[in-house]
Every structure is written in structure tokens, then in C-alpha cells.
Amino acid sequence: MNTASKYHATNEQLDAEFKLIEAAKLDINRFGPLYDKYYKQIFNYLYQRLDDKETAFDVTSQVFLKAMTNLSKYQFKGVPFASWLYRIAYSELMQLFREKKAQRTVNADVADIKHLCEEINENYYDDFLPVLSKVLTELDEVELQLIEMRFFEKRPFKEVAEVLELSETNAKVKLHRLLEKIKKSLKTNSSIK
């Protein structure tokens, strides 16, 4: 899945967004431009991790409703408003999975899987998929998010770090270790060698 990042913004864009947020804090009807701007991004983020399209749409609405309810508590930290929305979305997803109201799903395109294989210096074969699927679905949630955001959603490290509330260096180190771990697991699990 190729989700080009619309996350990063210039200082002017951040200033303009900040004004929109402040206006919405005073009058919730003015939240509209933020809703329009981020609706698709949040839906895609959710649908990437869910099996059912309708559930993804419902959760998207829920995320924006929560954002509106808690807008007065929002603090501008010099990063796009999207990072706050992603955190709400992530929290909503975890709630769904804990309550077993939705199926945690990992969605990937073959092209993305090939990219992941290149990163761990492995050749891609069709029969490689079941093994990779097993290894990925056994990762913990943060590890899975790192792989999804970096390889299946192609997000830059800065964005991955901000959404997962890590430093950029920490995100890089974690991903590096994770790839080593995947490589090791693949060798133990697969017959491709």
C-alpha cells in the first residue's frame, strides 16, 4: 500500500493550522477544515490495520468526535495536528482489539513486502509469504506499527517517531533491531535457505 506522506509541513503551514485549531477551540463549527484535511489520512491509517471497511469508517468518525471533545486540551508542540489524531486513532484501535470488536489485520502489497525483503537482504519468493506472515503477526503491537508505518505506509522516520512518541534516533535503532529479529525468525521458521 502506498500512502504518500502528507504529514510534514512548513512553518507557514503549521502556523496556518495552528490558527485553524485555535478558531475551532472557540467555535466547534470551525473544526470543518481540519476534518476535511485529515479525514482520508486517518481512514487509511485505520483501514490499514482493520479487516472491515465499515468498521474503519465508523472508527474514523469516532476519532474525530474524540478530537473535537478533547480539543480544548490539545497543545501545539510544533508538529502537525495529524500526529495527535494518529494517537487518538491508535488508542481507539487498541480499545477495539482489547474488546475483541474487530480483527487486527496487517495489509501489505507485494511491492512493499519485496522492499522489506531487500532491507533484510533476503530474496523474495511467493512461498516466502506464509512464513513472513507468521513472523509479522507474532510481533508485538509497537514492533508491528514500526514495520507497517515504515514499509507498508512509507512514512519517514521523523513521522514514525512523532506518532509513536519516540525520538527519531530511537525509532531508527528500534527498527534496525527489529529487522535483525525478523531476519533471525525467518531463518528459523522458513525453508527458504
Partner: protein, 586 residues
């Protein structure tokens, strides 16, 4: 539920996503939910109250515990350091109950009067300008305010000023501990009749803050005192002060000069009034009329049948007061216990009358017969017609006496009233002049203060103007968050001679870069600083400040992972922005 893995799942196209957007429905849901939440809050009001009372009791308990602990700490010279973390935790709790702890007792707000309907422009002594729109205020109930309102405003620019204000400068973000480098902080609030007022949602106050720090690395922050954290509001607009015309600088010089002249004039007027008041007051002390009051006449006494009386031939030249008793006889007083009928049988050669024991009431009669000499206390009394005459004469004299006394008293009261009226008028005039003088002195002293705190420079001489709009009263800060130093880490132990100090907060001051970082007690277990810089520490313990100066800091004793820093108490007179500025040499 096991995680599912899918490959090349069909994507949802943009049109479908676009069609599913429904902002109106979302707003409706939001409003319904807000209403439901409000009703739920109303229902649980009593529980909230209970919770509040419980919190208050808990808070008071914590304060009492901490105060007791602090007293014990000070008295115990041999305190075991293992108690430190427990006490620290309690002090942390105390600290959390008071988010802003001003060190300087004296309030340093400037007060400005603004007509709420007209709005207006305030020129602060730092050259900052506050533009207030018309009809901008409401009361607590949201009703628009009319009439005059009081705007209380202050600015803090330097480390001593910020330290004295007690406003926290910590800004921890994404797990990184940071402290603010301020390009100027302001606090603004509004009052009417002693009650706080609010700014209308659609009205904004423009703050045009004079700042000596140039550069656009500063963001604007608002201090949320309820959430106890700074909120970033974005960038302020910067106007370079050096590009301004000299006109404004000249205006300031003229303003200061006018202020000086005005102050001198007011002082002269007050001195003149003081002299006049003193002069009038001396009149009060000499408030005697020329009317002389005669001696109060003595009422004639009727002779008693039971007591013996004498008739005497009195020389009225010698006893002029007895002239009033003309026709009187002298009655032997009861006090003459030695008196007997024998006295009437003896032929006395000589009888002398002298002053008695009660002036103008009785006399001493000295009776001599050969070697025998007797003294008798006698009273002038009247009998028959003489008594009537004496009473008539007495009444006349008494009437005359009373008339004179009343006239004198009336005259003196009139004079007293006139003098008091004059003094009251003078004092009112003096109060008005003093008020004016205080206002002038305040403006002047604030100008001096800023000049003093900035090496004689005022805010017009250099720097920029930082312009921003605010939509609520409170504390705003133009800041740049700076991470804590990372060079050396140590566990700080703070001593004053042999006593270990357990401060609520410790301020690390880097004198080389003019930076300050705040550590809580717990955090001083990992005190980080740059040893290549000139550092000092200030510890805040309840209402007292302690200082480990740059020399003491550099000479601190290192014991394994711990470093012992020696502090001395800062004198009360130095616990102010100006005092700290001099002490810290910042």
C-alpha cells in the same frame, strides 16, 4: 483474536472516502454528547463536591505533615540522609499544591484604569503597549461590563525577575526535560470592584511587548495554571526596535524628565502643606480665649442648731474671700473632737483666724489664753436674714459665673471646629498629593529598576517588539525551550554548614550563558551541569532562599556519585528581583 495477514487487498477509492465524510452529522453528535455529559456532571455534582472536600482535607494534611517535617529537619543537625527521599516526596506534594510560588513578597503589578466601553491603549514603563478593544469584558456570568475596569499588568524579562515571580519555567516535551529561555514574560489580569473579569471570546488584546532578545527562535506560550503546563501558541510577530524613529526615544526621555519635575513639584507642595498643618496644630494647643473665668462662687451654708457658732470681727483686707461671707458666723466643725463646752467658759486673750484644711471652705481658729493655745476648724455659716441675703448674692454670682463659662466654652469650640476643618482640608489635599507622588514615584522607580537591572539601558535603546494577541487573561511567555545540560551527572547533597537542606526546588544557574533550569528535589538525585561553565545553585525552602555561589559550586565536595554543595541563606532584603540581580550579578 489472532492477527490476520492480507496481501494486495483492494483499496478504497478516494471518491468513496469523500462520500463518507459527514461533518454536519459529526457536529450534531458532538453537541448531543456535550449535552449528555453536562447533564451527567450535574447529577454527579454532590460526588464531585465530596471529592473536592476530601482533596482539601488531604491537601491540608500534606501541608501540616511537610511543615512538621521541615521543622524537624532544621533542628536535627545529625539528620540521617536515608530520610531524604521520603521528605522530598512530601515536599514535592507541597510544591504541587502551589503551582506558582512567588519568592518576592511585594506585588509588582502596574495598575491601569480603562473604560470598558471605550477600550484604550496602555503604555507600560518598559515601553510595551497594550491595546484593549472596546466592549471587551464580561463578568463571571458572561454579562458585558461597563464603566472603569482595572488592568493589572507586569513583565518579567531577566532571570532574577523570573525567579522572584515564582512562575515555573519547565517545559518537558516528548520526554525531554527542558527549561525556557525567555525573551519576555507578561502577566495580565482585569478587575472591577475587586472581582476578576473575563475577556470576551471574540475580543483580543494586542500586546506589543518590548523585548531585549532579538531573533525568531522564540515561541509564544500560555501558562495553563489548571493543567499546570505551558501551551505553545505559535510565533509572535517581531518588529525591530532599532528601525524605529528617534522620536519615540526622545518622547521617553521627555517623559522621564517630566516625571522628575512633577515629583519635585509634588514634594514641595506636600512640604508646604506639612508646615501649614504644623502651624495650625500649634494653634489647637494654644486655643485659649481671652475671656477670664472668675472663681466659682461657694454656696452659703445654713448654721446648724446642734453646733456652736462664733461671731468674729474679721479684717476683710487680710481675708478678702471672707467678704463673700459678710454677716456670717463661724461654726465649729465636726472634726474638732477635742472641742467641749469648756472652750466657751474660757476668756481667750487672742483669737487668730488662719487658712483651714479645705481652702475657701473652712478656716483655722487659733485661740490663746495665757500658755494655753487651741486650734479649731470652723466653717462660715449664715443664720436668719443673713442667710437669705447670702443665698441671693450667691445665685447672682453663680449665674454670672455660668454665663461667662458657657460663653468661653462656645467661643473655644467655634475656634476648635474652624481649626479642625482647616486641618482636615489640608490633610485631604496632602493625601491627594501623596497619591499623585506615589504614582509618579512608582513610574519613576520602575524606570530606575529596569535601568538598574539592564545596566542603565532602557527598553528603547535596543531590542525588538514582540507583538501577539491574547484572547484570555493570564501569563504569556515568549520562549525558547532549551534542554537540560548533559555533561556531568551527580547526586546533589545540599548543606548549610552542618545542616542538610531539603529544598522544594533547586535552580541551576549557568552564569556563562545566562540560563536557568529548575530541578525538583527528586530530580537533584541526577543533577546535570556543564562543569566548564560558571554555575551556581539557588535552593528554595518554604519562604527562604539559599545560595551556593559560583565559587562554592566550583569548590563543591565530590564523594563517589554524590556532590555536596554548600549553601548560605540569602538575606530577606535581597529576596527581590533587584536584590537577586545584584547578588547573582546577572
Amino acid at each position: 483474536m489472532k492477527t490476520k495477514f492480507t496481501v494486495d487487498r483492494p483499496k478504497v477509492n478516494d471518491d468513496e472516502i469523500e462520500k463518507r465524510k459527514n461533518f454536519d452529522d459529526l457536529v450534531k453528535k458532538f453537541k448531543d454528547q456535550s449535552l449528555a455529559d453536562a447533564k451527567a456532571k450535574q447529577r454527579s455534582g454532590i460526588n464531585i463536591k465530596k471529592l473536592m472536600y476530601t482533596s482539601i482535607i488531604l491537601g491540608v494534611t500534606v501541608v501540616c505533615y511537610v511543615t512538621l517535617k521541615q521543622v524537624l529537619t532544621t533542628n536535627n543537625h545529625q539528620k540521617n540522609t536515608s530520610n531524604t527521599s521520603e521528605t522530598s516526596t512530601k515536599l514535592e506534594e507541597l510544591k504541587s499544591t502551589k503551582f506558582i510560588q512567588p519568592i518576592e513578597k511585594k506585588s509588582n503589578y502596574s495598575s491601569y484604569k480603562i473604560n470598558a466601553q471605550k477600550g484604550g491603549e496602555i503604555k507600560h514603563h518598559t515601553q510595551s503597549v497594550i491595546k484593549i478593544p472596546a466592549k471587551a469584558f464580561t463578568n463571571e456570568q458572561g454579562i458585558e461590563i461597563t464603566g472603569d475596569v482595572e488592568i493589572l499588568y507586569r513583565e518579567m524579562h531577566t532571570i532574577p525577575e523570573i525567579l522572584a515571580s515564582g512562575i515555573p519555567m519547565r517545559y518537558d516535551s516528548a520526554g525531554i526535560k527542558q527549561s525556557f529561555e525567555s525573551a519576555g514574560m507578561i502577566e495580565i489580569k482585569g478587575m472591577q470592584n475587586g472581582k476578576e473579569i473575563k475577556l470576551k471570546r471574540d475580543k483580543k488584546i494586542e500586546i506589543n511587548m518590548a523585548s531585549q532578545k532579538t531573533g525568531d527562535r522564540f515561541n509564544l506560550y500560555y501558562l495553563d495554571t489548571i493543567a499546570k503546563q505551558w501551551q505553545c501558541l505559535g510565533k509572535d510577530k517581531i518588529v525591530d526596535e532599532n528601525q524605529k524613529s528617534n522620536q519615540e526615544k526622545n518622547n521617553l526621555q521627555n517623559e522621564i524628565s517630566d516625571n522628575k519635575k512633577q515629583k519635585e513639584l509634588l514634594n514641595k507642595q506636600i512640604n508646604a502643606i506639612d508646615l501649614k498643618i504644623a502651624e495650625i496644630q500649634s494653634k489647637v494647643n494654644n486655643n485659649k480665649t481671652e475671656i477670664e473665668i472668675p472663681k466659682k462662687p461657694t454656696a452659703p451654708i445654713a448654721a446648724s442648731k446642734q453646733r456652736k457658732q462664733f461671731e468674729l470681727d474679721v479684717d476683710y483686707k487680710e481675708f478678702p474671700e471672707l467678704k463673700a461671707f459678710e454677716g456670717c458666723v463661724f461654726e465649729v466643725g465636726e472634726e474638732n473632737k477635742h472641742y467641749s463646752n469648756e472652750f466657751n467658759q474660757i476668756k481667750w486673750n487672742d483669737i487668730i483666724i488662719a487658712q483651714g484644711t479645705k481652702p475657701n471652705q473652712n478656716y483655722t481658729l487659733i485661740l490663746t489664753a495665757g500658755y494655753r493655745k487651741e486650734k479649731l476648724i470652723v466653717y462660715p455659716v449664715f443664720t436668719g436674714k443673713n442667710l437669705e441675703h447670702a443665698q441671693q448674692s450667691y445665685q447672682k454670682k453663680l449665674d454670672n459665673y455660668n454665663t461667662i463659662v458657657t460663653r468661653k466654652m462656645e467661643e473655644e469650640q467655634k475656634r476648635k471646629d474652624a481649626i479642625e476643618r482647616e486641618i482636615k482640608k489640608m490633610e485631604e489635599e496632602r493625601i491627594a498629593l501623596n497619591k499623585k507622588l506615589r504614582a509618579e514615584e512608582n513610574a519613576r522607580s520602575m524606570s530606575n529598576l529596569y535601568a538598574e537591572m539592564n545596566d542603565g539601558k532602557n527598553y528603547l535603546s535596543e531590542g525588538v517588539r514582540r507583538i501577539f494577541e491574547i484572547n484570555k487573561f493570564g501569563i504569556y511567555n515568549s520562549d525558547c525551550a532549551k534542554p537540560f545540560p548533559t555533561h556531568t551527572t551527580t547526586e546533589g547533597v545540599f548543606m548549610q554548614q552542618n545542616i542538610e537542606l531539603i529544598p522544594a526546588s533547586v535552580f541551576l544557574i549557568n552564569h556563562s550563558d545566562n540560563m536557568m533550569w529548575t530541578y525538583s528535589t527528586k530530580e537533584t538525585e541526577k543533577l546535570k551541569y556543564d562543569p566548564k561553565k560558571r554555575n551556581s545553585l539557588i535552593a528554595f525552602i518554604q519562604n527562604k532562599l539559599f545560595w551556593c555561589d559560583t565559587l562554592a559550586f566550583s569548590q563543591s565536595t565530590k564523594k563517589r556519585e554524590k556532590t555536596i554543595f554548600y549553601f548560605k541563606e540569602i538575606k530577606n532584603e535581597e529576596v527581590s528581583a533587584v536584590g537577586l540581580k545584584k547578588l547573582l550579578n546577572l
